[in-house]
Symmetry: C2
Subunit: 560 residues, 2 copies
């Protein structure tokens, strides 16, 4: 690759810009731009990290797209998981381009847009694997790639500069649940055609070998269903349609009825049944109320909450707080998911509470009740070997995964100069068969908190962090506007700092400190800002000396 | 076991009370009481969980011991890890009993007590494996058990009611670093003698098979040391003395010098060398400054920070914020530890930042650079089979580990009625060869925050949680004491709620809401509490309607 800052572009070039999906898990979004035409691959969200206090969701910064909204020709979706489509409700109002998606992906997105009352604004084009669509200077071909959800497609995008392949999330599952293995013929043909750039899933680039087939989960379910003495409660993601199919199949084999618990699970499953992506034998699926009259060993419940989310069905059950389901001894709970990094503690607490109530709990450490949906190292190597791309850009993974995926590519003979580890917003430009880094565009994280999108930024988060560590102290100080001296006694209000009823001496000391500070001076006109900063400083010093804590100090100065 | 509430005790009985170490990882502490004499096994701390906002450390609630301080005859320590000895500096001032510990354990505790200026108050008895000590009605025998630290001992405690065995943390490592395998002969003899109660490490009760020997880590180090092109930076726990020995041994084999970085690492290592627990060949250990003049491929650094703790050496290095060490391409960083649950996110961020700076990073997912120090299922079964205890009580693990360890015991023929899954504070009473649950004593978590021990409780934490989610709003309202009407305009101060410069309309609306609420009423004497709750309610409703957030509202009412 040529160095950054090389000859500026004069005529049209192909620009590839990741706005999400490099350097972190989730919020996948990649921009392809040629001349004045833009297509956007995926539009995902990520769940906030622990330090993003109070934030509900994280979406990509789309200011680059917002300023060019009239040039955006399409959102091209690879599959229906949240980290690939979840930001659409927040992005569509600003950039309302047509959405290209396979049937199941469209169904999942429609459920989501309906909730946000945006469904009638969306313009969908339903596509299927094998189809080619022309969008401005781009021709987008969809080809089937296995993942943990049906109807997942990789993208082969022909541009005036050459062929760009995007793997989507994938694994090479030879025995997938929906019977549709990865389209190796198509991959081989693309490799033969010549790939300019490969954008490649990196999630499992640190795992040696091959990722096990989804089939192994069915085998684990068989063992569980054959032995469970009472109800079976399977918990997974609401969008993991293939897993739901596996539970329904196992239930039928072992003569159990299945009930769904939780709104998102019910909505997604009924949509998937309507579209024909879930095959449910007559009579297997029943309303929850019906299961209450069945023998326990003829019942399976499917719920959400595999990540221990406090408001999820499973967490409520574990806390004896669900309006329908409570654990009875003999229940077997199956957690068919692994915790997303950062969620381990809450998931473990949920498991412990289920055990406390007498359930048997099968989780990832104990049984093969979950497999990853992402390719391990041998699969990644096979993919790269089949496609033999000229340039390689790892996406979808935390930074270490990108580095490790890049190493795999290098080990297969792709020269280091043709491997691009980008961060969000980095611009990669192709022109005349050559690539160069061409600066960067605004990119980053936008926080969704309640109704606010983007109004919580670093300043607000920093304050939340401070408040979460040592709480706060409000000091209400009334001063005489002529002398600057205190009137009455300062009022001290604390929250999250010390347990007030037992800290009377500490608080009384704080009042004294303020009195000494403000009354120790000669008379002068009260200066609001001066008094504020005096009170702030004296209390900060005092409380740190006495407690080694640093509560946020908010002085309220009233002049009379 | 007899049901709770059976015939009350009249004469002396043996009481076993876990005050820590059941139901969570860490803060191990078990009380044995006979008549009026008490011995305490271990005195550990745990690191706070993510939701314990601002808390530095967590120690056991020792109010039961504090009230009986004059009856406590001894602290018996099994080994020198934080989760077994770390609470001593906080407990000794209240309960200053003699401390029985092996030499290395004593050395590690002394380092800690010296920091807290408590060393001269502590009364130590140094013991060694094979020794027996009589303490009141108890005879305590120490026997060697392998763990990831030298000088670890299990306890065989003879009481008037029978023999109680405490495993300490252990694994059956046949090739340990210090050459001292577990004392199987002693275990077999204890089994033959007859064990009334076994208190058994449960940490890895969910792992099948055997835990690999520490030797496998040396083999992994050999591979790393043979290939690393530049400096090697090994990060582990400061108390993992065996691991430090392995690094020193590997360094010597490959002709590298070792420097220690970080105060706790330097203190512990020099103590362990002084006591003869670390064998360092002449000239291998050098000050950091000397490594700066050596070729990079002749240098090894050992640091703390394997848990990504923000103030640790490794985190500072990863953030380019360490005063001595900065990463240069070619460096190889080895994380010789697995993240404690809850620390995954920070550890991953540290790894990513090290990669960003050009280091190669070997972590648990990639190489066998760490093994657990705890017994897996086959080792646990072997232990139980050798000791054949009459009663079995799993300790040291989260609740699910206790349940799984209990199942192992049951699979080996111990009747379910003789297996006790206790929570902290549960009292187990033995008299005349029979056991009964005998209620419970105060127990739980005590938070250490700055200088405060125990003054941060649920109320303070609840406020910190609220503040961390949506921040706060202080509303300063001046009212006429005669009419109850507003004087001037209310002042609104927010922190961690919205970004104030961009939320002027929202804040102006809040002022209006207060004005409408307070001025819409007939004149009457101002009622402080009434105005406060009015302001609180109207703002809560308003902000939630407008933002779907629930900031903490603090009304400050000033009467004029």
């Amino acid at each position: 690759m040529e160095p950054a800052g090389a000859s500026p572009t004069t005529s049209a070039a192909l620009r590839v810009i990741p706005l999400g999906g490099v350097g972190e898990i989730g919020k996948n979004m990649t921009v392809l731009e040629y001349g004045h035409e833009i297509i956007v691959i995926d539009c995902g969200l990520m769940f906030p990290e622990a330090e993003m206090l109070g934030v509900d969701l994280v979406i990509p910064d789309i200011s680059y797209l917002r300023e060019r909204a009239d040039r955006v020709r399409a959102f091209i979706l690879t599959h229906g998981h949240e980290d690939h489509v979840g930001a659409l409700p927040y992005v569509l109002p600003a950039v309302n381009a047509p959405i290209y998606a396979t049937r199941l992906t469209r169904g999942l997105v429609e459920v989501k847009l309906r909730e946000h009352r945006l469904l009638n604004q969306a313009r969908f084009h339903t596509v299927m694997a094998g189809e080619r669509v022309r969008i401005g200077p781009f021709e987008v071909e969809f080809f089937h790639m296995c993942h943990s959800i049906p109807d997942n497609v990789g993208l082969a995008i022909r541009t005036p500069e050459g062929l760009v392949v995007h793997t989507s999330d994938f694994k090479f599952d030879h025995t997938p649940v929906d019977g549709q293995p990865t389209d190796f013929q198509r991959l081989a043909a693309l490799g033969a055609e010549g790939v300019l750039l490969l954008l490649c899933d990196s999630t499992n680039a640190d795992r040696p070998g091959f990722t096990p087939s989804e089939r192994t989960v069915s085998e684990a379910f068989d063992r569980v269903f054959a032995q469970a003495p009472g109800r079976i409660i399977v918990t997974t993601f609401a969008s993991l349609i293939s897993r739901v199919q596996q539970v329904i199949d196992a239930a039928e084999r072992y003569g159990r009825k299945v009930a769904l618990v939780g709104r998102s699970m019910i909505q997604n499953v009924s949509m998937a049944i309507d579209l024909g992506y879930l095959q449910v034998p007559e009579g297997v699926l029943v309303p929850f109320s019906e299961t209450e009259h069945l023998p326990a060993d003829e019942v399976v419940l499917i719920t959400t909450g595999a990540q221990g989310e406090p408001t999820s069905v499973l967490a409520r059950i574990a806390n004896r707080d669900h309006h329908q389901v409570s654990i009875v001894p003999g229940d077997t709970v199956v957690l068919s998911a692994t915790p997303v990094p950062g969620n381990e503690e809450t998931v473990h607490r949920t498991i412990d509470n289920l055990f406390r109530q007498g359930a048997d709990v099968l989780y990832y450490d104990l049984a093969d009740v979950h497999v990853s949906g992402h390719a391990s190292q041998e699969e990644l190597k096979l993919l790269i070997a089949m496609l033999r791309p000229q340039y390689f850009m790892p996406v979808h993974g935390e930074y270490r995964h990108l580095v490790l995926n890049a190493r795999l590519a290098q080990s297969l003979g792709i020269p280091p100069s043709n491997i691009i580890i980008a961060e969000d917003g980095d611009v990669l430009e192709f022109q005349g068969g050559r690539a160069r880094r061409a600066g960067s565009v605004p990119a980053g994280l936008v926080f969704v908190d309640g109704l606010g999108v983007g109004d919580v930024g670093e300043v607000v988060l920093r304050d939340r962090r401070l408040l979460s560590q040592d709480g706060l102290v409000v000091a209400v100080v009334t001063v005489d506007r002529h002398t600057g001296h205190l009137v009455g006694t300062p009022d001290i209000i604390s929250r999250g700092f010390v347990y007030a009823p037992e800290a009377e001496a500490l608080i009384a000391g704080a009042r004294q400190q303020i009195q000494m500070e403000l009354n120790g001076q000669a008379d002068h006109e009260a200066d609001f800002t001066f008094v504020q900063s005096k009170v702030h400083d004296v209390l900060s010093r005092y409380f740190h000396r006495e407690t080694r804590r640093r509560p946020m100090i908010i002085p309220v100065v009233v002049e009379v």
